[in-house]
Amino acid sequence: MSIFIDNSTTVIVQGITGRDGGFHTKQMLEYGTRIVGGVTPGKGGQTFDGTVPVFNSVHAAVKATGANTSVIYVPPMFAADAMMEAADAGIRLIVCITEGVPVLDMTRVYPFVQEKGARLLGPNCPGLITPGQSKVGIIPGRICTPGHVGVVSRSGTLTYEIVYQLTRAGMGQSSCVGIGGDPINGTNFIDCLSAFENDPDTHAVAMMGEIGGTDEQEAAEFVATRMTKPVVGFIAGQTAPAGRRMGHAGAIISGSAGTATEKIEAFEQAGMGVAKRPIDFVTLLKARM
């Protein structure tokens, strides 16, 4: 078991002939992900890497391949359209890797995707992986190993760091999900926590938050009231100054709201384990599993 993707997931890549899209498509194929098609307008009829058919539109790709999942590597100004196209074409899980999507675009994309009944992950996220089955996005496959820790994070490389440390300590993962660092995104912590709670193969959850917003506080409330499985949390940005955007568009302390301190307090009040350093996840999770 796993959340969101497994070995039955069939994927199309939007922007497959681009630099990033091409690179990561190869990585995903190597990992064993079932990439069934790609989309680049004007390159319909071509083949990517000798095996993957390319289409002019997501509609055409879905019609021909029956794909249920899409991963998006297109430039930021085209990402909103790509997400809406995927939702409109009947894609069930849309993973948008693109960073730099204007936030106002997302105020239209979000309700559009909701209306179509699809799940959106991202934008500005590393995607997700179910070790040994499928990876959709850019999380390096070789740092992961199958197991029972669910991982959910707002960040990319920080997630890799923690997954790497878990794997080194012999703790495999059920699924690892990067929800992305933007202020408006499709899937939030609670969506993932809820899925992990319902996934029999997940025994505990590692959750990496950061400064900005109140998603972590709401997630803590969810952990306290709705979850039976242990959750260990971490917040990046304890040393971040107020009012500055720390790389991620969403990682900003607005006035006095969204600080690491208030998030860590929420974790503690929810009875969660709190990792002070990335390495602490190993001991805290071990103690709880």
Binding site: P76, P102, H248
Partner: protein, 381 residues
């Protein structure tokens, strides 16, 4: 991206928000000439990206052109929260009957732009929100439909009873929303929105922040950027496509990925050190970014040690290693460097570094501890 008051006012004026006339001056003489042209009393206002200008003495009322010149000469060159005033706005003074607050922020929780209005104007809206939330009307706007007439009317009625003022305020709400949307703003504020003694509703001060992600779409807004109002090192970093924020510590951090960069800073602090900066070289493996990052960080005299923390995913660690070698050959380092890298092409990277006289570790905690110790002038652990 922040823009100045006078720039924000231009964007609002373009949508029809009534704003007293005014022009900017960079010399006292210009200020005097503008005041003369405007006639009557004027306000001389420092244009800096900092709050609390009034308290700092950056906003003054002048009764004559001569006084405007005199005040401008005092305000120009003044430092407000570390930022030097290069420009003042000279604008006609208004006779104020009452003040209100009107703002739009891009709200994460509702995933919508949210109007915040309060009849308690000219104030810190965050404080009002915290202490007397009933004095604020918060109204999320569904951008698929835009600000609807009944909503603009509701906002107007929250501020005023008199229908004429309600209508004027509703029109301003519409204009403010247009300005917010058209310019890809993340915040747009009129504070205060005033009723004059003559009964007119006008905007006396304005603030607009642009979503950085919109700038590719809005070159005309990128042109509003005032680099003289920013940290030179941050300007340099942005022009080198690096995400960099200067801090006061002594451990210079070069990291790939925003989350890992923050976590690295936090770990520096955890082990008793102080980070000198946030720096994310991003996901690409361009060695030039490493070169630029080292240049910018080593230019700061208070940086005592450099810490690389690279988790190779998309980023190839051998590219980073090559960047380090190139940069330090061109400009030999005068301070110690600690390198942690792991992931893609780790072995090749280690070899490159070793061959060029560097040592590197694959353990994050170990590397951070070492960098902290070195910055304190101690030995590497």
């Amino acid at each position: 991206m922040n823009i100045h008051e006078y720039q924000a006012k231009e964007l609002l004026r373009a949508e029809g928000v009534p704003i007293p006339p005014g022009e900017i001056a960079s010399t006292p003489e210009q200020a005097e000439a503008i005041a003369k042209k405007l006639g009557g009393m004027v306000v001389v206002k420092a244009q800096v990206h900092a709050g609390g200008r009034g308290k700092a003495g950056g906003v003054k009322l002048a009764k004559s052109p001569e006084e405007a010149r005199e005040l401008a000469s005092r305000i120009l060159g003044m430092k407000i929260k570390g930022l030097t005033v290069h420009t003042v706005l000279v604008t006609a003074a208004a006779e104020i009957a009452s003040e209100a607050y009107v703002g739009i922020i891009l709200d994460r929780a509702t995933k919508k732009p949210v109007f915040m209005v309060s009849a308690a104007g000219g104030i810190d809206i965050e404080e009002v929100a915290a202490t007397t939330p009933e004095k604020i009307l918060k109204l999320p706007i569904d951008t698929r439909y835009g600000l609807l007439a009944y909503q603009a009317s509701e906002l107007g009625f929250f501020l005023f009873d008199d229908l004429k003022k309600v209508r004027a305020a509703s029109k301003i709400m519409m204009a403010l929303y247009q300005a917010f949307m058209k310019n890809g703003a993340s915040l747009a504020e009129i504070n205060p929105l005033v009723v004059t003694l003559a009964g007119d509703v006008i905007a006396l001060d304005a603030k607009i922040s642009i979503d950085d992600n919109e700038l590719d779409r809005h070159p005309e807004l990128e042109a509003l950027r005032d680099e003289t109002a920013e940290e030179p090192s941050e300007v340099d970093a942005r022009n080198s496509h690096l995400t960099f924020i200067k801090l006061d510590g002594d451990v210079g951090c070069i990291v790939n990925g925003a989350g890992l960069a923050m976590a690295t800073m936090d770990l520096v602090k955890y082990y008793g050190g102080e980070p000198a900066n946030f720096l994310d070289i991003g996901g690409s493996s361009n060695p030039e970014k490493v070169v630029n990052a080292l240049r910018i960080i080593t230019a700061e005299p208070h940086v005592k040690a450099i810490l690389f923390n690279i988790f190779g995913g998309i980023t190839r660690t051998d590219d980073v290693a090559n960047g380090i070698v190139t940069a330090t050959k061109a400009n030999p380092l005068k301070i110690p460097i600690v390198i942690r890298l792991t992931g893609t092409n780790e072995e090749i990277a280690m070899q490159i570094l070793t061959e060029n006289g560097f040592t590197a570790s694959s353990d994050m905690d170990e590397a951070v501890k070492k960098a902290v110790a070195l910055a304190k002038g101690g030995q590497a652990a």
